[in-house]
Symmetry: D3
Subunit: 341 residues, 6 copies
């Protein structure tokens, strides 16, 4: 019997211009569905867990398409409430070389951002669950979504569920002040905290070190200092982050760092040629969660997470459509890309 | 020097599943831009008039795409204000045979629906203009858009501009009560009124005759009675409507009726095999307007309008991409579809 | 709690040249998955039933794609055994006007055709089930599949499940002699028998009347005589058939006939403009089954079935992706194809 | 050993907007290759004859693509000279309902239009050949092409080859006066003449009867009178024409008429739903030629031709990709379009 | 009020096989429109200038498509004469790694190559203009186009317009001897001259240094020497060139060099992963022109130009669809390609 | 008169998900045809040889498509027997970066695997032939195919034809034990043997050296030792192998090694950015064969082979669609990828 895991958040309609076309060059948009917590649910289902995604989607056909995208990947949609007006949308233009990818959000007033706590039966949701994952995006959707997140966290803890968060600061959704006010009290429920320096600063108010994410430089020392302070304040079991070195829109370095309150561990670094970098962080979180929930030690879990997300960068769409076997093969050292036949 | 004409309203991003696919069968959506008044502007520009479209669109890339779609068709976008949050969206699934086309609207909070009167310089807009066209959709977008419409009408009349309206009742935007309250006072500015029985009832409160639009039956007598009453009350110069006989999603009969306060004229009827029926009414309105503004008598203008819109049904997208020469050839009787080479 | 229904058979990979292209004109094939019993399962799931599809599929990625196609449509795949070598394939070229559609089968040695009875736990499968549907295709796949079908039928009857069959003679899979030898003894388990004259003759050995299916002529009298004889011999509760009038590859007449052992009922006839006629019979069977299981009288059930399958002809792919509401709207008389907005 | 047949003329690059899109709506053009005599060569190769196409094409890659398109269909390209500057091009926009298809030619200065007689070894070309087909398009390409045609005809006759012509008047290539001056002396070499009233008038100077091809009306009597006069003057063995009734760009009636100097025979008439009507006349000519060369009587040959070209209307591109078996099935009466499986 | 700039030349229909397909692998060609001077006009319009493109295009639909492509990008087409027979065409196959891209030209006899001076009102064209840009391609189209170019230059100078040229030698259009004879006298009108060593040698007769463009090696010293000699002879205000290091069809180094008659300045070098390298030189010229016209010093203008053209390499088609803001961000140092959201 | 060469084996239908999509992300599969020996035949035909492909394909349309794919590339299909049930299929998912490409085979029971010796007239096949090439895949298809291979080899030798083999071990088709039993006796007919260490070990039983193909490391010394032993035992005229360094699915190093019984020669190494690596080995074999048959010395032949196959990696599909001129240009040192125009 597979372990039950739960994520809650928004799943959006993603509309992207094909290939490397600019928005105004295309007569069609590629359609996929995705969003931080949905992406994590899909990965966990792909890894064989019993993954439930909690959200709200309109009753109309576009809402139904989002449900079917989840169902296809074996995510349980029993707790997707149906109602509200819109599916959040984001437009994506894929960059190349020195031209960055561009995202235009059109997600205000989505069904989940206006959902009521009464739309969900959290006792049923968390019954027999082992893990709950959320991100800083959901509370940023508005006061209702923030209240919903808190209610979920309280229920999760009531049921003894392990909780992870991906801080994920989104400057278009709220200010650092708003973020800190909402997010800080939620940290008491969190066991595993994932976030980079920018997230820690903007969402939790930690003063950053010298990491310059724009330049893609990595300052491990700065991260270590910050992780220690985060762990001190919130008593997280683990603090972790992916570390992206952005050489260009086409090539990135990719590794990760974890702190268990005692020791730091910096993973192997992958050089990735990018097909689609959206969902990279989510795939890292999912891999780490899968590693921890399946009984790996935290270092092995981190390696699983970073290998999983390295693979994500080679896969179109928000979802990381890989199996445990594929990730393990990469963790095991085969990055040769030889044809499997 | 081409005559200056003005339309004002919303231009939306239209996302349609390709061919006859249902929404959930496609990995891509075809992208075009359209909307009642924008469609009319495009037709009038195609017919060689100096057509201005007045609207508001966000500064972001999707807003820019809508501007470029208009510009490509030679519509003047000098009076498209830039700002606001969203481009309104509608999703379209094309029906066939007895399966109807389906539209899912996601247009709330579009930039134009929240535009201010101060976003526009109506004196500049209507300077030297000969015609202004609007529809019942714009005031239905909300109180601000209704006020904007009224401001435009007052300015148009100040500049001696002829005004046409397509009543276009949209039940998802407002109730008949709301529609009548807002639209009735606007009729004093209108010279040419276009609308079918349902529109006249819902938007202006005229009790309908026996026309059953669902069955595609036509009751000319009912229409005549209603047109007389409309003309009596509002002193329209012309009242007109297209007459659709919906045999199926694939085949329709298509004709039109006009009343000049004195006489009725029922156009030739076309049997159309449908490629894309969206924008059919707008193409009729544009053809009628072009006919009147270019000096045809009202019967010839009506024939031009109905032929133009018959052709529209064979063209993908909201815009009716035909020339005066193509419409005239059809009016002239050549519906043989022989290859032009 | 939705009623549990079960179908068993093969789901194939369908590869079709796009639009009306001949096989050798296309550089790509459209990909869907389908097959008689899978199509029925999808329809029943779409209608809100708890539909289980029983089959066997290879563990590789193409097998997985078939599973995901079912899962997306909410079909329960708990009883899809994984193993064997191949997914059956069929190639489809869509005809137009007087050019017929063409099917090339490549389905020998598929996983389900070589499945063992021990691959399935029929007690679990039929526990609490209300209905079991199979077709004449599955036993035609080979001796193992025939034995598997019989085992399923015995188990179904043990659990008091209602059984329907669609006779579906496939001349490329077996001869009439083989068919009759295998199928005749299975009829004792059947409550509802669906089949046209050709099926009844080839599969069950009934001498046909004068119906000439090639010419698309309908001889209701011949059918009535045959249905009476079928009911006499096998004591079916209902015998039914769809009635296709093939004017061309583009246009068909479509109705259906049912016999309850007492009375005949001939449904309304639809004139369909065809998008994709594959799965037409399956969609009829599903609609009839849904009608009967949901408590409609047999005439209303037949009307639901024939309307459902009329709609199927307008939908790409094998699956009939329509809802109860859409079918009921057509049954209720709205075939006008007017845009739903 | 298959019989050797020869055609000579131009093969063009055809660029068409996909589906029913207007030229300015598409970001891509579908690519096929075709042209009157090339289309005939392809059909004859498909019917199992040893078909040679004589032409000239540039050495560059686009010229090579045209060669490969022929080779794929088993046309022998041994006598395609390589050189010259351009492949002729035509742009095609597919019409629907009352909107006609549109062709824009860009074929001036193509390699074949500027070819020298010395580019070809006509003795080798016509050695052991049984049939030579040309059309009125090739001499219309210019003086060199006219001289080339005459040289080919003289050589063909020297080798005892039967000659057919499709008169095919093209008003964009020359005037009636030019056509008559060039074409009249070539008629002495012709055994089988194919052409409609317009062709006979414009190309050969026969005063027309009352046929109004624009209206799609058919005046068999007028045709009969003209055929008699043509046969009188040029002593053709057979005179034939296809008869198109153009109801719209989507639906045509299609039949044919032949005269053997003694009797008239009017074929069965087909009602065709059109996929692609380009090459309709060529497919008729090919079917008639195949019928005659394979020993059918002229009535059966005509029926083969008209059935072949009815099928052509359902096939994308210029080439009629059908087999003898498929044509015979339609001649035999099966126009039901039932799935072949 | 935006500054008025003018370019004159040919806009062609570009037909490219999708992705990396060879010409003979594709059933469709991607369609864009472009050409040296048109590309510059589009860039300048995108940068906010009032850009006019002077050319001649046929009245037919393909000519119209070219007009619309310009209009969509806000280029003013008031001075595009309509007439002539053809739109020039080029076929493009995109290379990868060590396989070069391939271009097949089919541009002879295009409308602009046969245009008359009387097709244009140069006084209106250059009234209030600040800049005129042309390239060595236009005079190479033939004697008429050369005369037209000279007429334009004389008129430009009469109106006090600054003139830039991109020498752009095209060996398929003329010989070095022809080029020098036509181009040398035109240099008296030029203020800013852009060209690499090959251009300077072939078009202006300057003996080259050791630069080996095939090997992608760069010999700055050789360039400096040549630039000095060019400036000496023609008294250009600026001489500039882009410097491409062609490692492969997939990766290039890209920088630029300018000389102000006094000092040399070599820009920053970008390493570009190529999406589409056509139009690279045009985008450099446009960026340099924009920089100079908008008041940047020549070094900053060069950096703008080279950054703009680095971005061009990541954009499909001939046009460089970037904004001033995007170029400035790259000039400012952000080449990380991080997602903009 | 071109030299006659013969290859014999299987041509499969290849179905690949577009771009870098995973199998379950695509609604269509790209369609090409290919297979080791067919790929060699295509290359040799492209290089101007008279190339015959010997195989068996079903009579149905999919078999016909494979024939046409060969014919288009000028391969002679006179000796392709028609019959049997299926065309072998393989599914391909293209990897990127550290994600490997994936192949799913569905080739059992293909027509060629069940062909009889009597399906072929080997005397006609090898009459006047100069070269015969086969691979280790064909005998691996089953006992009939192994016997067929032996019959072909005996006939080839009878006609004095030079024979090459590409050992090509396929673990999904047979075990090393089976391979060695079948293949060892066939080596007596072989003049030129191509194979890497894995092939030599698995197919011929040579104990490998230290080459680790997974890591992409190259141990030339190990190869040399093995080649000497292979030559000793079988008296091959040449032993050769391509040497792939698999850095990732996107980038490979590519060179080759040959031994003439006396000397070793290691070619130039290319760094390839991969578009499609399938058929890389076949393109190497074809290039080497072409080099030897056209009279190059073995070192030049090897350089031709390795350059040809470097180019193959940039071309979609199994076939290496390059000309002798293109390969020679690369051999000559131009790997700059500059646009050819």
């Amino acid at each position: 019997m597979a372990k039950k895991v739960v994520t809650m958040g928004e799943i959006m309609l993603r509309l992207s211009s094909p290939g490397f076309l600019r928005f105004n060059q295309s007569n069609s948009f590629d359609v996929v569905y995705g969003g931080g917590e949905a992406n994590v649910a899909v990965s966990l289902a792909n890894y064989g867990l019993d993954a439930y995604f909690v959200s709200k989607l309109p009753k109309h056909e576009i809402g139904q398409c989002a449900v079917e995208a989840l169902r296809k990947q074996n995510v349980k949609t029993d707790f997707v409430a149906r109602g509200g007006d819109r599916v959040g949308i984001y437009f994506l233009e894929t960059g190349a070389s020195m031209r960055p990818s561009k995202v235009v959000y059109d997600r205000a007033n989505s069904a989940i951002s206006e959902a009521e706590i009464s739309d969900f039966d959290f006792d049923a949701i968390f019954k027999d669950a082992e893990w709950f994952h959320f991100t800083g995006i959901t509370p940023a959707l508005g006061p209702k979504a923030a209240a919903l997140t808190e209610a979920a966290l309280i229920a999760a803890k009531k049921h003894g569920v392990t909780v992870s968060v991906d801080l994920n600061f989104r400057k278009k959704l709220w200010t650092p002040e708003q973020a800190q006010k909402v997010m800080t009290p939620l940290m008491q429920y969190v066991d595993v905290c994932i976030g980079n320096e920018e997230d820690a600063e903007k969402v939790l108010g930690f003063k950053p070190g010298d990491t310059n994410v724009e330049k893609g430089e990595l300052e491990l020392a700065g991260y270590m200092d910050m992780f220690r302070r985060m762990q001190d304040k919130f008593n997280f079991k683990y603090v972790a982050t992916s570390l992206r070195e952005s050489y260009s829109a086409s090539d990135n370095g990719w590794s990760a760092l974890i702190y268990d309150g005692n020791e730091f561990y910096h993973s192997k670094k992958y050089e990735v040629r990018i097909v689609d970098r959206v969902g990279g962080g989510d795939s890292f979180a999912s891999g780490l969660i899968y590693g921890l929930i399946s009984g790996k030690d935290y270092k092995a879990a981190l390696e699983f997470g970073v290998a999983a997300s390295a693979l994500k960068h080679t896969i179109f769409g928000d979802f990381n459509l890989v199996t445990v076997e594929e990730v393990e093969a990469l963790v095991g050292g085969d990055a040769s890309g030889r044809v499997q036949r």
